[in-house]
Amino acid sequence: MKQEAAIINARTREPLSGRRILMIGWEFPPLQAGGLGVACEGLVRALRLFVDITFVVPVFDDRMAIEGVRVVGMAQEAGARDITSPEWERLEGDQPQLDYYMLDARLSDALRAGFLQQERIQRRKMQEMLVDGQVYGPQLMRKVSTYAEAVAEVFGKGDFDLIHAHDWLTYPAAVRLKKKTGKPLLLHVHALETDRAGPGVRNAIYQVERFGLHMCDRVIAVSEYTRRLIVEHYQVPSDKIEAVHNGIDPQKVFRAEHHVPEKIVAFVGRLTHQKGPFFLLETAMKVIARYPEVRFVVAGTGDKMKEMINWTAYKGLSRHFLFTGHVTRQKVSQLLSVADVYFMPSVSEPFGLSAVEAAQFGIPCVISQQSGVSELLVHALKADYWDTNALAEHILRLLTDPEEHRQRIELQKLDLQHISWDLAAAGVMNQYRKFLQKN
């Protein structure tokens, strides 16, 4: 079996035990906003058996303890240091070293001036920036560059063998550290700004990503889909990128009876452009028109929530929807335990963990072609996110044909056998080996 072979492979090929990986992250449970923290934790738990991992985060929390892994919070580490060290004074007088987010000749002068400004302010504010406790929140760009300074300062001695950094928030830190220590750099792409803001985006975040992707030694993408986007939108050579799918932890699944007489189509995720909220509504309208005994339960919040709710009210379709607002893990499980169909019409989804969770709960999934998870859930029903006719057909089929519904559940169970963190760790180990075996 493919998975088993990969795991055996990872365990028996030349072991890398004792090799030290410096992982630079941003989210880590419980301080997380989305899937990034979950993915980092899953990966670290699987990898810690093979290599020594130091995981760096902006702010440390006692609950981040994982056996065998050192978790270091920059707010705590760097906060104890003299932040007006001579080196910094010197830098202030010099031409500021902006190269770690800089990016690209096409970056406008205005943007560059903005960064210069930030550079000066952030030196003074380093401590405050890192200890305001929010990993996102206001002045994110400043936090990112402050983080870079702090990481370079604390780990500048280079007592590790490889840098492995997760998503754009960590790229400036990672590139800066690579320059300082000469250690190989592996960037792990969990999501792209082009997913969130559309392929045309050329904002500062995009520039940070682009710079990092070109400066690093190798790139891991969470899916073939994301790999293609990196080539297409960031002009990174495709042989520099490897796709390694995320895994998932087994979870306690259960079925419950629900009280509404309608069948339930569940959506879980942020209500932002990226998740395709209006394709969801358009699809729902087509489903409702032909199968009124249905209720779409939309779990999550986001900047599109108000508009979505207003739309359902305007159309007089509110009785076919339920907007839950913010949901806890437990409530997501409650929802999945009663759902009949899971629907993920994302416009661009690098991975799509929530669909795998739904599959674990034994719910047939209807997902957009533009998602990483569609490569793994081979038996989910798929269509292009804009093709709301096809998406509606898929949902209707699952709602009206019990045999189809049952079969999809069984087939998805087969798909799930190929999704695990061990498998993901094996893929990552193969990348580590490219650098660590040479020595």
Partner: protein, 395 residues
């Protein structure tokens, strides 16, 4: 000198619990009982009881010359029973003095007249019975929620035995040469008098009294009575001041307090020969003979535009109200007392007022709303409504 018709409304809704979607189908514990009773208790202690004491004093002092009218929603009365029985005693005292005319309204302070006429009639009748049982009062004057009125209400009101109705008086009517200070009659019935609100003077006491930016702030009783005196020259019959009773409250840090103002104003006004009269007194046994009050489309006492927009103006409000009233047939067929009571409580206009987005659009707070936003109010109401729908249709 024109008479003065003082009318106060009292209403408190049953505000909802934060009712999460996971509770749908699980429990029917919709109403925030402790919170609601606490509010009623506080309003009673800080506003209603002190104001009642003032009215009592005035009745004792001025006897026949001082009469007021009240309407108290059924939901408010129910909550008084539990939270502030002494307030009910206090109203009974005023009633025993014969100083009050009790005005009919919908039991739930609802918008049923627009959405479900049979439910409207059921609620008005229920409220009438409540007033009769509790106070021995026979209501012959009606005031609809938010003073919502249009011609098509007339036949129902006449049939239910009302002889007069309290109505708004939009500025647009003044341009036709009519005055709010006359008793009007409906073009649809010779037996129904329309008592038109003097919006400007009502707003001086309600909306603007504690408003430092207002040009008459701080308002003195002498000045107010002077305005009343001046209306005499134009042949004014009656000046109708309609207020929420909650307005008659003291306010910390203010030099001029509305309760004290009220006392002074009655003193000065009676001295100037103004009588405080209720609609029943004004009509006596006679048939109204005034100008016609012709209102083809619904209007309310909302300051400024006289529209119902704050209640039914946006898609959220319309969707919530439509879904609520779509339940009517099923609820009636079911005939379950508990479900009928819940459905009735959900009809309070307040629930829809919490869903107005006009405050957020101006960056202001909806001061009367227990919610953070209109959206939150809508979502919570819909969760409750979804559960009620389940219960109604399950039987």
């Amino acid at each position: 000198m024109p008479a003065i018709c003082l009318y106060f409304q009292i209403h408190q809704p049953y505000r909802l619990n934060a009712y999460d979607f996971t509770r749908i189908g699980e429990d029917a514990d919709y109403f925030a009982d402790d919170f609601n009773l606490a509010i009623m208790r506080q309003m009673a202690t800080e506003v209603y009881l002190p104001a009642n004491r003032i009215l009592h004093e005035l009745m004792k002092k001025y006897g026949e010359e001082f009469r007021v009218c009240f309407s108290i929603s059924g939901l408010a009365w129910e909550q008084m029973r539990v939270a502030a029985p002494e307030l009910i005693d206090s109203f009974r005292t005023l009633n025993d003095w014969g100083g009050v005319e009790w005005v009919g309204e919908t039991y739930s302070h609802s918008l049923a007249s627009l959405y479900a006429r049979s439910e409207f009639e059921r609620q008005v009748t229920a409220h009438k019975q409540l007033m009769e049982q509790e106070l021995g009062a026979v209501c012959t004057t009606f005031r609809n929620t938010e003073m919502l009125y249009a011609n098509d209400l007339v036949s129902d009101l006449v049939r239910m035995g009302f002889r007069s109705v309290l109505v708004p008086f939009p500025e647009s009517l003044e341009s036709t040469g009519k005055s709010p200070n006359q008793i009007h009659r409906s073009p649809l019935s010779n037996r129904l008098a329309c008592i038109t609100q003097n919006s400007r003077l009502s707003a001086e006491l309600g909306r603007f009294f504690y408003e430092p930016a207002h040009r008459h702030y701080p308002l003195k009783a002498v000045k107010f009575v002077q305005w009343l005196d001046e209306l005499d020259a134009s042949g004014a019959e009656v000046v109708s001041i309609f207020l929420d009773y909650g307005a008659v409250s003291p306010r910390a840090g203010e030099r001029e307090q509305l309760p004290t103002f009220l006392k002074n104003m009655v003193r000065v006004a009676t001295a100037h020969g103004h009588l405080f009269r209720t609609p029943a007194q004004l009509l006596g046994g006679s048939t109204p003979v005034g100008e016609k009050y012709d209102v083809p489309a619904p209007i309310t006492w909302a300051y400024g535009d006289h529209s119902l927009d704050a209640f039914t103006g946006n898609d959220l409000q319309q969707e919530a109200i439509n879904r609520l009233y779509e339940l009517e047939d099923a609820v009636m067929r079911l005939g379950d007392e508990t479900i009928l009571r819940v459905w009735s409580r959900l009809q309070s206009s307040d629930h829809f007022y919490y869903m107005t987005q006009r405050f957020e659009e101006r960056g202001e707070l909806n001061r009367f709303s227990p919610y953070e936003s209109a959206l939150e109010a809508y979502n919570n109401f819909l969760n409750v409504l979804t559960d009620l729908e389940l219960r109604v249709h399950r039987r």
